[in-house]
């Protein structure tokens, strides 16, 4: 199946073309949905086949390149359109097509009755196409193709309901914000690519990585490359300072938030850092930057998540926070732990979003959790799956989130330092708290909605079955990555599987851990205790004594407002970046440069010609005889000149 890997991009592209061109004509929305889902489902089967085939190969033959055609050939630059099928890309592909397929199926129910459903599925398929190019590309250019493609799809899908209001603006403004902020990151990524080509004379992964080990390159060059690539990653994966677009991206339909803004696209940055691990490992200073940014993002987003009232906003900040975890892991050199968390996070966060979508669906598009309450009895399946996902993300032992989070925290401690661990553990506490605040306010307590207008109901099985599958994965998904302390030195299947990808980087980092099993178990117990306490506290406050929360909010009013307003980051960016650019563009570029300088030059030239012609045109009297006179005089002069020069 490895040789047929191109089908995984071709099929979604086909689905995009069919639904995009003829979707409007297909009156039956079920057929549109089935076309959209089936193409992704078939892709998943192809990836699965390739995965099984790769598993059967010896370790050193597991990295295969599938060459499709020569894309660009200019001078010394030769870009093959080729896919790299190895452990890392297969892992990502399984997540993208697998979770993607479930979300497609779910969308059939969620988008039921929307007149633009064909457009929706066309965009979703285009997204899968781009995302698969991103993870499968065998060089930076194909990766960049996918990188930009997913950005485009993200833009299209955030603004899918382009005529709807969103917060203070419209959904198209949110889409625009996401696109523009991403462009800033993309610019960094592009610079990184240029620098890679200048340094290593190639953009092919294998060549670049081999040369990165062989060439005598200065550490500062590696530092610049890694920094630029990381700027690209902060844009796509919503890290400080470019995270501001992700919460606004919730303007899109909920399946989009689940697929693009939780499970797949936002992890592209993590994937890219992980793919170029050797470049990062060669720049230790930037590794520290990655870890610090990741840790700070995790903490900051979690604190904001504590007080948000929009169900999707809470999940959005939770996503930012979890992405921070992944970068923290990558920054301390635990690349496989970060990809592990990408996978488990894809399961439970997609589940959370889809569950939230199910709630929103049942509550007639109400998203404010203060207007929910007591939904448990109306939506038992949604409640059960949502509850499992909340347990998983909180890091309750036995569920997927526990294993990946624990691995990150352990690596943060043993390779990064105590501070990183502490930030991670505090974030875990807050994660548990805000997740169960969400669960309590949504499913427990008084029914705070208007019974006359809102009739909560469970979603159809086309929506709940994907929820159950994801819930199952959220439970068992972690057991392929058991911690070494339990399973022995080679018991972590996930790490063993990815190990060859990171071997060069690990060798470079030369990590050795002097920590003991005792320490690991101790730290694990502390983080589990914190998570459980967070859950208990949230349930205690929001289920039993809602007044406590209000008291807290009143007592720490300034703090509460700071968090509620997301640290005023948007306002600061507005004042520090958007306004100066807008004002500068208006005052300098438009009113002065354009209106005065450029228009002035053009109009001035015309005015000068006009003035001169005004004088010269007097010569044209309109009297034929004066013309004749001048002509004769001219001839006479020519004759005179001829005679004299003879």
């Amino acid at each position: 199946m490895i040789n047929y890997i191109y089908l995984t991009t071709l099929l979604p592209l086909l689905g995009f073309v069919i639904n995009g061109l003829f979707g409007r004509k297909i009156k039956n929305e079920r057929i549109v949905g089935i076309i959209g889902s089936a193409t992704v489902g078939l892709s998943f089967l192809v990836v699965l086949g390739a995965f099984i085939q790769t598993l059967g190969l010896p370790v050193e033959e597991r990295s295969n390149t599938v060459n499709l055609f020569t894309w660009l050939s200019v001078g010394g630059l030769h870009i093959q359109f080729a896919y790299l099928v190895d452990q890392l890309s297969l892992t990502m592909s399984l997540i993208v097509t697998g979770v993607g397929f479930l979300i497609h199926v779910y969308s059939i129910g969620y988008m039921h009755g929307d007149k633009g459903i064909w457009r929706f599925f066309a965009y979703l398929n285009l997204f899968i196409f781009a995302m698969m190019n991103l993870v499968l590309g065998d060089n930076f250019v194909v990766l960049f193709l996918g990188w930009e493609g997913v950005g485009l799809c993200s833009y299209l899908l955030i603004g899918f309901w382009y005529d709807r209001k969103f917060e203070k603006g419209t959904t198209s403004q949110a889409a625009k914000k996401a696109f523009v902020v991403n462009r800033i990151g993309d610019f960094g990524f592009l610079l990184g690519m240029f620098l890679i080509y200048m340094t290593f004379d190639s953009l092919n992964f294998k060549e670049v990585f081999a040369r990165a080990q062989a060439f005598p390159v200065a550490e500062s060059t590696f530092g610049l490359i890694a920094l630029f690539l990381f700027i690209g990653a902060t844009g796509k994966s919503a890290q400080i300072p470019l995270f501001v677009w992700l919460p606004d991206a919730m303007a899109g339909p909920t399946p989009v938030s689940a697929l693009i803004h939780a499970a797949t696209m936002v992890t592209a940055g993590v994937y890219m850092v992980s793919r170029t691990s050797i470049l990062f490992a060669s720049a230790p200073a930037i590794m520290t930057v990655v870890a610090v940014v990741g840790a700070l993002t995790a903490l900051m987003a979690a604190t904001i998540g504590l007080v948000q009232n929009d169900i999707k906003k809470v999940l959005a900040y939770s996503t930012v926070s979890q992405l921070g975890y992944m970068f923290l892991a990558a920054g301390v050199g635990a690349f496989s732990a970060s990809i592990f968390h990408v996978m488990t996070h894809a399961f439970f966060k997609a589940l959370l979003f889809l569950g939230a979508g199910s709630v929103i669906h049942g509550m007639h598009d109400e998203q404010n959790i203060q207007k929910y309450g007591g939904l448990k009895k109306y939506m038992p399946k949604t409640y059960a799956t949502f509850f499992i996902a909340a347990l998983a993300i909180s890091g309750v032992p036995g569920l997927a989130g526990f294993f990946s989070k624990d691995e990150i925290l352990w690596n943060a401690y043993s390779n990064g330092g105590f501070v990183f661990w502490l930030i991670g553990a505090v974030t875990a506490l807050m994660t548990a708290f805000y997740m169960f605040r969400l669960v309590s306010l949504t499913f427990y307590g008084h029914e705070r909605f208007d019974h006359h207008h809102v009739h909560p109901h469970e979603s159809p099985s086309v929506m709940t079955v994907p929820l159950m599958i994801l819930a199952f994965l959220s439970v068992v998904g972690g057991y392929i990555g058991l911690p070494k302390v339990f399973a022995g030195e080679h018991g972590n299947l996930f790490e063993n599987w990815l190990e060859p990808i990171y071997a060069p980087a690990q060798e470079k980092l030369a990590m050795y851990s002097s920590s003991t099993h005792l320490e690991e178990i101790l730290l694990m117990s502390i983080s589990v205790a914190l998570a459980l306490y967070g859950i208990y506290f949230a349930l205690h406050v929001y289920r039993k004594n809602p007044k406590i929360a209000d008291n807290f909010a009143n007592r720490f009013k300034s703090m509460y407002n700071l968090l509620l307003n997301k640290y005023f980051v948007d306002e600061v960016y507005e004042a520090a970046v958007v306004q100066p650019i807008q004002k500068g563009s208006e005052k300098v570029l438009w009113k002065f440069t354009d209106a005065k300088l450029i228009d002035g030059t053009v109009n001035g030239a015309a005015t000068i010609v006009d003035k001169i012609s005004g004088v010269i045109r007097k010569v044209q009297t309109g009297v034929a005889q004066s013309y004749a006179l001048i002509m004769v005089a001219g001839i006479a002069l020519v004759l005179l000149w001829l005679i004299l020069s003879l």
Binding site: Q620, G622, V623, Q625
Partner: protein, 102 residues
Amino acid sequence: MSSIPMEYYLILSAFMFTVGVAGVLIRRNAIVVFMCIELMLNSANLTLVTFSSYLGNSIGQVFVFFVMTVAAAEAAVGLAIIIAIFRNKKSVNIDEINIFKW
């Protein structure tokens, strides 16, 4: 024929041409201006014939036929234009016909 020197013809021709040029430049009546143009054409014809005869080459005489043909055609068109202008302006005074400007 050979008794009359070539210069006489050329001087006559130059005189006629000068009269024609002067007429075109200074007369106001379009008909007169028109006649002066014919005068210039014919002076050129005379020069052509003269040289043709003296050099024993018939090309000059052939040219004269072309010039006469063109002059006839031009006379037809020119007179037609003058009539058209007269119908519009009730005048053939060239000073009043100054529409050849921007």
